[in-house]
Every structure is written in C-alpha cells, then in structure tokens.
C-alpha cells in the first residue's frame, strides 16, 4: 500500500504522463457511476506503463454508464475497448448483471460497490437494508466468463472505510474515495488488467537468512536459527513459511537464492523440525557465493520460464536494489524491516494475483478443500479419549548433556505449570547438564495439526538413593494431553536406571502455580504439608508403575 507521499508522487507523475500510443496499446474504457475518474484514468495508464503495458484509456461521461453500455451508438462502442471498467458509486443501486451481455467479447472489470460507513438506521443498518450487499453478491453468482469482479469494497475495507471516503472531496470534486487512495484504486485495476493479459508471476525466489528464518544459519547452525514456535519471532518466520507453502500448494513455484554454502543452507531444511518448508517444496535451490542476479537468471533458465515471471523476496535492501537494477523484469517485493509484516507485504505486492482459476488451479483448489473436509471428518469423535486418539500425538523425551537456549527459556518464563519456580541461568544449566548427579530431560512434542517443539523440561537431582524433582515445567499450550503421564514415566525410568529407591518432590506455592498444586498427589506420592503452605512428597520407586497415555514415540522425518 502506498504511503501518502508515494500516492502524491504517483498522482503528480500520472498527471504529466503522456504516452505515445502504439497500435497494440490495450484500450481501456472507464464507465462510471456518480463519481469522477480523471485521476483514476491517468494513474491507471501511468501504473500500467510501469508494468510494461501500453494502454489508451478513455473515460465515459460522469454518471453515464447505463446509457453508454446500453446504447450501441455510444462513444464506448466507438472507442472499441478491450477492457471496460464499470465503476459504480454506492448511490448507483442497480442490477449490473443485465449490462454485461452487451459487452460480450470484451473483458469487463466490474467494481463492486463500496458499502458506505453510514446508514440512516445507525449501527443497526445491516439489520434493515442489505440492498448493496445483495447487489455485490449477485455480481459474484451471476458473472459470465468475460466478467471479473473487482473487490473494491474489500480494498476500501483494508484501508478503512472512514479513511477511504472523503465527503469533502466528493462534494467538491465528486471523488469516490479520498484523493490519496486513487493510486491504490488504480493499482488494483492495473493488477487485474496485467493478470488478465497473461502478465502473471509463476515463481517466488526466496532468500534464507532473516527471510525464511531469523538469524544467520552460517553462524548459528541449523538449530540456532530463530524458528521456534514458542518464540514470538520464531512464530513470525513460521507464519511467513506457512504463507509461502500455501502459495506453493496453489501452484506457485518456490526457489531459493542465498549467499551461503549449499550444505549449510540446506541443513535447516533437513534437520530443523521447526521448518515448515521442506527441500522438496523448493524447485531450484541456489546456495552459493555468486551474485543474486546470476542465480536468479539461472533459476529462470532451469525452470524454463521467463525472468518476468519471477518474484524476489529478500530482507536485504542492498540485494533488492541490485536485482531491481540488473533484472528490471523481476518483481522485487518491497520487504518491510519487521518480519511480522512479511506476509502482508507479499500479499500487497499483488505478485500472484490472478483473475480466474485455470482448470488445473481449480482441480488443485478442489483437492485441497477435499483434504480439509477429510481432516474435519477424521476429527469427529465421541469422547475425550477418542479425541486424544485422533490427535496422533508424538513425543520424544531426551536427556540433554549441554545447555540449550530453549531449556533456560522455558524454565525462566513458565509460571503456571512449575512445581518449584526455580530460575537458572544458562551457565547453571550447563553445569547441571554436565554433572553426573543430575538428569536433565526435554520433551519435544507434535500432533497432527502442529509441531510444538520443546514444551517440557525436567531437572532431577540424585543424592544417595534419592531422586529429587528439582524442576518440572511445562508449556500450558499442551495441558490435558497426557504429557504429564509420559513425563512421570520417564522420571520413574530414570530413577530405576540409577538405582534410586525413592523419588521426592516439592510444590512451592507462588501466586501463579496453583495449577500443579495436586500434580504429585495425583501420581500417588505421599504428601506432607510444611510451613508456608508448601508440600513435600515421596514415593517409593518400587510402588510405581507406568501410566498409560496416548502419545506415541516421535519418529525422525
């Protein structure tokens, strides 16, 4: 989306833009309702030119779309356009579908109606009068193949209706939207026109470091990169990967262009379970020390597609600059600094906008929705046990022998599922991990819907024949799944292997950990109240037996 000053710059450049028309310029006619279109027309022509498309734009008279379309002698038919944009204002309550049959053989871009932000019925309006919604809905259900519905109502909603409408500008100039959004409106139409004459992009070329994951894999290794679903920043990169994956499922080819050693660049794809994109999602993988323009050229050659069907997404502005300069036909996405905004930026670029579904696309979309349905059916269940079964849960319990960042993170931020709320530094954790009197356990967990990463940490301290549960913390995202039982089994196992006779534990109350007040009671430990409301626990190892749960062993992929 343009900033105000960018919009201004487009408006001023469009005003001066005076195309030399060639005979193969596309002819666009704007048939408008009760709104003026001069700035839209010049901006549209200018923006299409920046996309390499020559056009001649002709505006109809103000509020004359009905007459111009129904009268075969009108200036519309004299102009003989390839594209007819029908742009109503919300006062133009009309059945648009009846106009379309007059325009057979031309591509009709029918803008839907931007619903106004006011109603005589106040905020109750939608309960009373849905005429405009009905008009918009009819457009979608009745449209023939030559008609494309431009969802201007959605565009205005994304900008904000109160921003979009400018009553002063409407009164003064009959502008259907604030002047500063005219370029956004023009760009929307430009995208549709570009897509419908086959200027569509086929392949997304991705950088790796700080694009698909946080950090530099060459420095931090396949597990050190930021991609953990339990980390705010990791979640953001995973969301971007998920969006790329959904583009791929839709038929967009994915490629990688990264300045890296190939085996280092590929390691996260092979080894890091937090990766949503896998090597077989990537059609061409270029990780080397060549410049990106060269790699991008090679990607196009290997895929046998034009350079102009590529989209480049890289967090590094210098790389974007080089690619824009050397390969002007590549669409270089203006990537924001904040990775949380990557998905929106890629969406806003309109890079993969389409105007119709090919039969292949349609088949893919259908099989995709069938899969979703199948999954929905599979997840019907009669009781909670049944539900747990359907989750297909898998876990891996591991002993760690070195401090890992997630261990300290979970221990230091868990408040609710935390028996003793002991906080440890990474250095202390490292010390315990390498001390033979301790066992440090992590639990890695996933189910059919999601991979959760490490969601539980345990520290056991051994002294003579006693196994003391120094720490047991768990992420609250996975409660009530039976993981507690799995963990207790692992504790008992470890205690047995080390020939401990008793397992002891403690619950030290805090303002937040009442959740686990009875955790050890429920596992049959003998409790003893001590002062301050704390509880001390013991159980003989010989009196324990394994608990059953529904969690399978995690298989490495």
């Amino acid at each position: 989306m343009y900033t105000d000053l960018e919009s201004l710059s487009v408006l001023n450049k469009a005003k001066k833009y005076n195309p030399k028309l060639s005979s193969n310029a596309k002819r666009i006619y704007i048939a408008s309702g009760a709104q003026s279109t001069q700035h839209l027309a010049s901006s549209l022509s200018y923006l299409l030119n920046t996309r390499g498309i020559e056009t001649e734009v002709c505006e109809g008279e103000y509020n004359s779309f009905r007459a111009e379309i129904l009268d075969k002698q009108s200036k519309l038919y004299e102009f003989n356009p390839d594209f007819v944009i029908i742009l109503p204002y919300y006062t133009d309550k009309f059945d648009y579908t009846q106009l379309w049959e007059n325009l057979q053989g031309r591509t009709v871009i029918q803008a839907n109606i931007v619903l106004p932000p006011t109603s005589a019925y106040g905020r109750y309006g939608a309960n009373v009068d849905r005429t405009l919604e009905q008009i918009n809905f009819n457009m979608l259900t009745d449209k023939p193949a030559n008609v494309i519905i431009a969802d201007i109502n959605e565009l205005a909603a994304q900008i904000g209706k109160i921003q979009w409408f400018d009553s002063t500008a409407y009164a003064m100039y009959k502008l259907g939207c604030a002047m500063k959004y005219v370029p956004a409106l023009a760009d929307y139409f430009a995208g549709i026109i570009a897509a419908s004459i086959g200027k569509t992009r086929k392949c997304l070329v991705l950088d790796l470091d700080n694009t698909l994951w946080g950090g530099v894999v060459g420095d931090e290794g396949p597990f050190g990169i930021t991609l953990d679903p339990n980390d705010a920043k990791g979640e953001v990169f995973r969301a971007f990967q998920a969006y790329c994956k959904s583009l791929n499922e839709r038929g967009i080819i994915l490629a990688v262009a990264s300045k890296n050693d190939e085996n280092i660049a590929k390691a996260p794809f092979k080894e890091n379970p937090n990766m949503l994109l896998h090597l077989d999602d990537i059609a061409v993988f270029k990780a080397n020390w060549n410049d990106k323009a060269t790699n991008i050229r090679e990607i196009a050659a290997e895929l046998n597609i034009g350079i102009d069907s590529l989209v480049f997404f890289d967090d590094n502005p210098a790389e974007r600059e080089v690619v824009s300069k050397l390969l002007p036909d590549v669409l270089v996405v203006d990537v924001p600094k904040d990775p949380a905004r990557y998905v929106q930026a890629l969406y806003d670029s309109g890079a993969f906008d389409i105007v119709s579904l090919s039969s292949e696309d349609a088949a893919r979309a259908k099989s995709y929705s069938n899969n979703l349905k199948r999954e929905a059916l599979q997840t019907s269940f009669s009781d909670y046990e049944d539900y747990l079964d359907s989750l297909e849960m898998q876990a891996k319990v591991e002993k760690i022998t070195h401090a890992i960042p997630r261990f300290g993170q979970l221990i230091n931020k868990s408040n609710q599922f935390n028996l003793r709320t002991q906080r440890y530094t990474d250095a202390q954790i490292e010390e315990m991990a390498t001390d033979e009197n301790y066992t440090l356990l992590t639990v890695d967990f996933k189910d059919k819907f999601d991979y959760y990463g490490i969601i539980c940490c345990v520290i056991l301290r051994y002294a003579e024949n006693d196994c003391f549960i120094d720490t047991w913390v768990m992420s609250c995202r996975v409660l009530k799944r039976g993981i507690e039982k799995l963990v207790m089994n692992s504790i008992i196992d470890d205690a047995r292997k080390r020939n401990a006779n008793v397992i002891t534990g403690e619950w030290l109350p805090t303002a937040k950990n009442s959740l686990v007040k009875d955790l050890l009671d429920d596992f049959g430990f003998t409790a003893e109240e001590v002062k301050g409301g704390a509880k001390k626990y013991t159980i003989k190892v010989n009196n324990t037996k394994p608990y059953t749960h529904k969690i399978g062993e995690m298989k490495n992929e």
């Binding site: 105000d4 000053l5 201004l8 408006l11 001023n12 005003k15 001069q38 002063t168 002047m179 500063k180």
Partner: protein, 77 residues
C-alpha cells in the same frame, strides 16, 4: 524551508517546473496548466505534506495563493 517555500515545492512538483516561483497574488488565471485537476493535486499535496485536512468552505473560498497559504497556516496553528 519555511511553510511558504514548502508550498512552493508542492507547486513545482504539480506543475513539473523546478524554477516556479509563487507569490501571494498568484492565481489560477495566471498559470496555464492550473486547471481543476491541478487544483486537486495541489490540495492533496498540501494535505499530505502538512498533515492537515481542508474543509469544504476552505476549498470554496480561496482566490489566490495567499488565501491557500493563510488557510494552511491557520490549520497548523
């Protein structure tokens, strides 16, 4: 750059004339390209650059650059 000079910059961009000099007395009749479309660009430019919003009475009342400028100043104060 003072506000009058900033307004002059907006005129220079809209009329694509880097040497354009504006005075308080300058009006639409004096500039060949100053039509209603140019007027809209000038208004949008001033709103964006000064971060203000004009009212209908403002847009209807200006006779020359001086009026336009005074209105901007009054919005900024």
């Amino acid at each position: 750059m003072n506000n009058f000079e900033q307004l002059q910059e907006i005129f220079r961009e809209v009329f694509d004339d880097p040497d354009m000099v504006i005075t308080r007395e300058l009006c639409a009749d004096d500039v060949e390209d100053w039509d209603s479309l140019a007027q809209m660009n000038l208004v949008a430019g001033a709103e964006a650059k000064f971060g203000i919003q004009f009212e209908l009475d403002d847009l209807l009342s200006w006779k020359n650059v001086g009026d336009f400028y005074d209105c901007i100043e009054s919005k900024l104060n």
